[in-house]
Each structure stands twice: as structure tokens, then as C-alpha cells.
Point group: C2
């Protein structure tokens, strides 16, 4: 969207510039950077970008914007995948990167409070100094505020949960500039509605998250990783199902299909078997990890899994996980010049094999290259559909594949998005997934943001404001 | 509250009687039974009680009541503790006990779907047949719908979480009779607002929960329990803090103070040391439990804990836990004829000792008998303040003690209720705990229940409806 010619002359622009000076910009390059995420959708820059440093400054921005009915689009690191930061109704981008302080760290309580712009790697550097870590790992070095907003998870959610389970409370600026704190530092509470969970996953449509109190965990005494190839997706998935049923506390159980393994071999000069493969991680005491590992090898063998390649030292583990961590780039390199549509569905684990297998056939029939990766323990998987960005035909084909994937997941009692969120990309599926519940969401949105200025045009379709 | 003389002649009474026949009652004894929970507050019977058998029938009840602006008070087993079921604005009690079917059980996915009236013991009998269990254990054999409504937890939340973590999705009838399903069976989802968590803990004020999809867990290979006395509350709490920091996955870590131990000794003819005592439970593989047990004994010894009394066989464990399970009755027996006010606050675990110690002194100064019990791992503790129900002076004293306990918890960054909920008993504390967030809750309540007919007069104070 081109900048409205009048924005530079608008009262809201003048007010924000006067208040924030250098920390407010209408520069085209800055706007452009803030109008795109990692989705394949064309960039939609905001009309300006502002960089508040605190909850109070965020509230000032929101109050100024609210006074002029100017939309506000919160921005963390721009690593979302469904167009979450695209300024589809114009307005001001609220970049949280200057809210980057770790406000408190309570080692005995295993919690900390951070500003929303702190990234997960920075947090882990800091809390690692006292033997703690924050487990949620979506891959990208995203901001904690952004991760909460999209209800992010990643590779170790099977053990540690998602952002839903790992945020104790939030500070949020509502659409009228009021500041709310949704809870305290108690581990549990029955004191009123769970506003924390309501805001987690709300994608900036109910307010701007400015601070988070997070759960931390002790770094395990021992961490061991292993790679194991399987003759089929089913064999790999069934192995994970049985391990979970046996109560093995898998820290990670990542599936890569044969095509993904081929991609990482080529990209990183590795020599893994080009078969469906599980990447495991086990956390615990030395004896505990040994026992988990033994059981995992035994169950995998029953499902015709190959030999486990083990890594326990940090460097070895990093090398072993490199295949998984570089998978996205490796997949892109399967087709030079291609862009990827990253799909994201989640189903009950008992349905995972059939849904992946049907998807596999559908992808192959399409003629497009599309490796599959999954967080098996959660029933969540992705494919990276590679396409020529200049080919309208391929784009349409890829979108149709994505839609069929979602329909298949919904038919299997699953969800259209396991961890990436709705943004603009998945709005059309919410009606099908939620039915009447979507009307309930709409009622909440309208009650809390009656002018529809908080990240409008995302997640929930609304009638235009009065 | 006396039944309004006009209710029997009202249109809503006639309509409900015609539709539900024998499953609708205005009988005084039935009304009286439904007008009380386990709180010390005087009973407030509803004007009638209806027993729907399904979500659709519940929706019919709600639509009929909504058409006449008649309040609806959902009722599970009446084991709430803060006046949740008292019909303070009159209206119809919706008893869920006939919604008692287990609708599906998916062993591979470790989940099940039940009607709201199924109790946790019945559920565990059924799912135990396939080697699974549902962990949330608030003590009472409550209904799952009631447990979700109050965000219940209990002794093993430290390992397995509360109802917040163990409900995958809900079916709920909203204030206008619409039926919503808040999610599917996927383990995680980023598809829209987290209505599941919004309804959990909403105490019937946003709708009536009629069905729940629940997480289940494999019954551990080995369960071991142990009792250990400590020289002080601090020594016991510090032991638990260190065990959590070491990553020991405690399944239970229950604290009883010296007075509680004295009470159970007297009540059950036991001979425990009358000192602050921890009741532990460990779940895992045989080797895993042995290792956890060794570590726990070692850390306890460092804090001058006494010898562990162990129990691994089911019968021995039941005997050992009898002290904890009968604690409430045992405490009541310390003062024959007394009633108890059961308090419930939750603080960060690093603040637990100081808050308990200050509370201990305050209770002793009051002259009332009040043993203390706690779910240490969560920072949650209760006291049972024993009082003569006919003494206005004692009642006032007990309420004042409860208030000071809440203030102390809030000052320690804790919450006024860890697991019992708000009901009528803790409404006055929410303003202090939540500030502006309470206004946000009020906006949600008004958006979803504009006539304020869903369990009105509970949790959130509202202006009278237009």
C-alpha cells in the first residue's frame, strides 16, 4: 500500500513526531522493512514507524493513535509467517525492539520478567548464567512479545509446552491506552478470567504486549541427541506414539521426510540416509537420559528403525541438529531462485501418518517440490512448497495445496495452524474451523477494540467500524 | 433467599416444566441442596432446578431462561468453596449430573471427551482400564465441568499442571443459547483467541460448560510415596525449591504444619512426628523413581529432614496418603462442632516461607485453631480456620484473618486464590489484585452476557442490567 499522501500532514503524524523525535520515522526504507515478514505475501508498509522504549511510551503511542483512529501494527523481529505485520489498513507500526530490557530474574522461582522486544537468544544468554533456560524455540530468534502474540512453539513443545504454558503474566496496552497487568508471579491462580491466555495468540488485535513474566527451567544435567532413519513415515510416527505412551519425556522428536534429508545432505555436505528420519533429544540426569535412550532405541528397532547416531557433547549435538536447523535453507536450495510457502497444520498424533501420507501424494502430484518436516510429538507438521515467485500458476497451485492440507487437518479433528498463527494468510479458514466460536471471538474483539485500530484486518474479519 | 412467590406462576417455570417434566423441580429439599456448597456462607437456594442430559438440552434451558432474563446457576457436585453455586440473584440451577457420559476415549492420542457432569473418579476408573489417568485431583470427587469452571488443581499440579493445562477444548452454551466448541483435538493451535482458557476459571459467568476434551497420561510404571518431617517450615520449603531447581519431576510435594500432623495423628490413630512434614510422590520408571528418591533424601538431609518413610505398593501408599487425604476432617475434629473457613492463597515459592510464617503468627495471635496445608511446589497453601458457627465474633475474626492472608499474598506478588476461585467469597479482592485488568474482564463479561444472566453476582461486580 502506498503511503497516503496526507499522512505526513496529518495531526497524528505531527503529534508522534513531536513526542518521539528521532524515534519516529516515515522514511521509506524503514517503512518498507516493517511492511514485510517471512511470508510469501507482498509487502504492505505502514505509514510510519515508532520505537517506544517502555510500557508508558507504548500507551502514549496508542492514545495518540486512538484519538485519530489510526491503526497500530505491533512489530517484533518480522519473523512471522502469515502476514501478521503487513499494514493492510495503513497506520503506524509500533516496533518493540527498543523495549529490550530484562527487568528481573528470580532464580529460586525460576521466572523472569522481560520487555517485549527481548529476543529468545538474548534471554537464554542471560538466564543461562544462572543455570536456567527458556525452552520455547520457534527457530527464528524472535522477540518474546512476538512469540506470545502468535502463540509460538517449536521443536521442544512436546516436553515444555508452547508460549501458552510458559508465560505467567503479561503487561499489555489496550486499544484505549489503558495499561493492564494480567496476573502476578504465582504459578497458578483462579482469580478471574485468564487474560494472559486470551492475549497469547491474539496477534496484536486486542492490545500491544509490552512486558512478559516467563517460566524458566533448570538446564538439564545431561542432554543427548540422536538421529534415526526409518523405512516409512508411519514407522517413525508410531515410534514416537509408543514412546509417549511409555511416559518417556521426549524433549524433542522431529521428523524429516526423505526429501528433506536429501536437501540437507546436499546443502551441508552430510551423508544421512535419505529416508524418513527422527531427530530425538533427551533431557535429564545422566542415568535418566541413558534409560530414555535405551528405551527409544528399543522401540525404534521394533519399528525397523536404523542405528541411532548419538551426540552428547554440545558441539556434536549442534552438528547433529544442524541438519534440522538449516532444513529451511536447505529445502530452498533444492530449487535455486524459488520462494517457499510454509504450511503449518496440527492434528491428533493418531491421525498424523495418514494426513502426512495423503499430503505427500498430493504434493507429488502437483509437480512442485515440497519437503515435509514435523514436530511429531505434537502432531504438528510443515511443508515448504517451493515456487517460482514470478509464476502466477505455481502460486495458485501452492495455495490450493495449502488449502487442501488445511481441509485434511480439519477433517482429522486438527487445526489450520499449529504454531504460525492466522495473520492475513489463514483468516479464511477460521470460519470452517471454529463456526460459532468465531462469533464469540468477534464479540470479544469488538468489546476490547471498538474502533478496530489494533492490527486491523488480521485474524478476524469485522464489519467496517462506524 | 426465599423463593419468589411468583416463580411458580411465571412463564419460564411453566415452559421449563413443560419441556423437562420430571427433570425440572421446584421442590424445597432439592432447591435447598442446590443452594449450598462447601463454603461457610449461608445457603441461597435457586427457584428451581433443571437436569438437562445434553448440550442441546442445556441450550434449550438457556434460551428459555434468556427469553425471561432468568439467571442460570450451573451446578456440578456442589463441592466449590466460595459460594459459587449460591443463587444470589435467584433463577434456575442447571444441574449437570445427568450429563454423565464419557463420549470418546483415544488411547493413542491420550485424550478423551466427556460430558461436564462426569466426575474425576469415574473418569479415572474408565481410563484406567487402558492404562491412562487424568491427573488433576482437587480432593473432592468433583465434576469435570465444575473443575474446569473453577480452574481447579490440587496435589499433583506441580508435575501435571491444573485444569488450565489439561483441557484441550470445551463445548459451551453461551448466554443466548448458542453452542460453541472452542477447539479441536490437536495438542496445540494458534488459530484465534484461546476461548478454552477464557472459559476455564470463568465460574459459569460466561456460559455453561457441557463437554470437555481432556489430556490423559500413561499410568507411571512406578509410583513411590514418602513422608519426611522437618525442623521448620523453611527447611521443608527450601528442600522442595532445591529439588525443583535440580529438575526432579516431583509428582506431589505436600506440606502439613505441626498442628495438621497433630490433627491427623489424633483422628486416624497415627504416630507421625508432630513437626512440619512433607508428603512426596514420585512417578516414573523403576530406575527413575529410585534416582528421584535418592536425590530427595539427600537434599532433605541437608535441610535436617528426618528419615523418609517409604511406600511403593498401592495399599501402603494409600495408607500413607490417608493422613493428607483426611486432613480436612482431622482438622475439623480438633474442635468438635466447629465449621471451617478454608483459605487459599498462592505466592512465588521463594516467598512461601515468609508468608506462611507470618500467617502462622497471625493465626496463633487470633486464638482460633487453624492448621496449615500447602501444595509447596506451586507456592499454594490453605489454612482451615475453625470457628463456632454461632459466634459472630469468631466469624468476623476468621474473615479478618483471611483478608490479611490475601493482602500478604498480594504483597508477595501472589494471588488471592490459587485454586478455589472467586465465587462470592473473593469478589472484593479482585480490584486489588487486578486493577485495570478487572475492567477488561468486565468488558468481556458484558460483551458475552449483556443481560447478566450467567451465574450473576459472582466473580465480577457489574452495574445492574438495563
Amino acid at each position: 500500500m502506498a503511503q497516503s499522501p496526507s499522512f505526513e500532514e496529518s495531526a497524528v503524524c505531527a503529534a508522534l513526531r513531536e513526542r518521539f523525535g528521532e524515534r519516529f520515522s516515515t522514511n521509506a526504507a524503514i517503512r518498507d522493512h516493517h511492511g514485510r515478514d517471512e511470508s510469501p505475501f507482498p509487502a504492505v508498509p505502514p505509514e510510519a514507524v515508532v520505537f517506544p522504549e517502555s510500557t508508558e511510551e507504548t500507551a502514549e503511542v496508542v492514545r495518540l493513535c486512538a484519538a485519530h483512529r489510526t491503526p497500530i501494527v505491533p512489530f517484533g523481529t518480522g519473523t512471522s509467517l502469515e502476514g501478521h505485520v503487513h499494514a493492510v489498513r495503513g497506520g503506524v507500526c509500533l516496533d518493540t525492539s527498543e523495549m529490550n530490557r530484562i527487568l528481573s530474574l528470580n532464580a529460586e522461582d525460576q521466572d523472569c520478567t522481560v520487555q517485549a522486544g527481548v529476543t529468545r537468544k538474548r534471554l537464554n544468554e542471560r538466564v543461562g548464567q544462572v543455570g536456567l533456560f527458556f525452552p520455547v524455540d520457534p527457530g527464528a530468534d524472535a522477540s518474546l512479545g512476538g512469540m506470545a502474540s502468535t502463540r509460538a512453539s517449536g521443536t521442544n513443545a512436546v516436553r515444555y509446552g508452547t508460549m501458552r504454558e510458559n508465560v505467567l503474566s503479561l503487561t499489555c496496552v489496550l486499544a484505549d491506552g489503558r495499561i493492564v497487568r494480567t496476573g502476578r508471579r504465582a504459578r497458578k491462580s483462579s482469580a478471574g478470567y485468564d487474560l494472559t491466555r486470551l492475549l497469547i495468540g491474539s496477534e496484536g488485535t486486542l492490545g500491544v504486549i509490552t512486558e512478559l513474566t516467563l517460566r524458566l527451567y533448570g538446564i538439564p544435567e545431561r542432554i543427548a541427541s540422536a538421529v534415526c532413519p526409518f523405512p516409512s513415515i508411519r514407522a517413525a510416527v508410531d515410534t514416537v506414539i509408543e514412546l509417549i505412551q511409555l511416559g518417556i519425556p521426549l524433549a524433542r522428536a522431529e521428523l524429516m521426510d526423505a526429501l528433506s534429508m536429501k536437501a540437507v545432505n546436499a546443502y551441508s555436505g552430510l551423508a544421512y540416509a535419505e529416508q524418513p528420519t527422527l531427530f530425538f533429544e533427551f533431557h535429564g540426569s545422566a542415568e535418566g537420559v541413558d534409560e530414555q535412550a535405551c528405551t527409544a532405541e528399543e522401540i525404534a528397532r521394533l519399528h525397523e528403525g536404523g542405528d541411532f547416531q548419538w551426540a552428547t557433547k554440545t558441539e556434536e549435538r549442534n552438528r547433529l541438529w544442524e541438519a534440522r536447523h538449516t532444513a529451511f535453507l536447505a529445502c530452498l536450495a533444492l530449487r535455486p531462485g524459488a520462494k517457499a510457502i510454509t504450511t503449518d497444520v496440527c492434528v491428533p498424533i493418531s491421525r498424523l501418518t495418514e494426513v502426512i501420507e495423503e499430503t505427500r501424494i498430493d504434493l507429488e502430484d502437483s509437480g512442485l517440490i515440497a519437503p515435509i518436516l514435523g514436530h511429531v510429538g505434537d502432531g504438528n507438521f510443515h511443508s515448504a512448497i517451493l515456487l517460482d515467485p514470478d509464476s502466477e500458476e505455481e502460486r495458485e497451485k501452492a495455495h490450493a495445496l495449502n488449502h487442501r492440507m488445511v481441509r485434511r487437518a480439519l477433517a482429522a479433528e486438527g487445526t489450520c495452524t499449529g504454531e504460525h498463527g492466522v495473520g492475513t494468510g489463514k483468516m479464511d479458514f477460521l470460519e470452517e474451523e471454529h463456526g460459532e466460536a468465531l462469533a464469540m471471538m468477534r464479540a470479544i474483539k469488538q468489546a476490547l477494540d471498538p474502533m478496530n485500530i489494533m492490527n486491523p484486518g488480521k485474524m478476524i474479519r469485522l464489519p467496517d467500524p462506524p
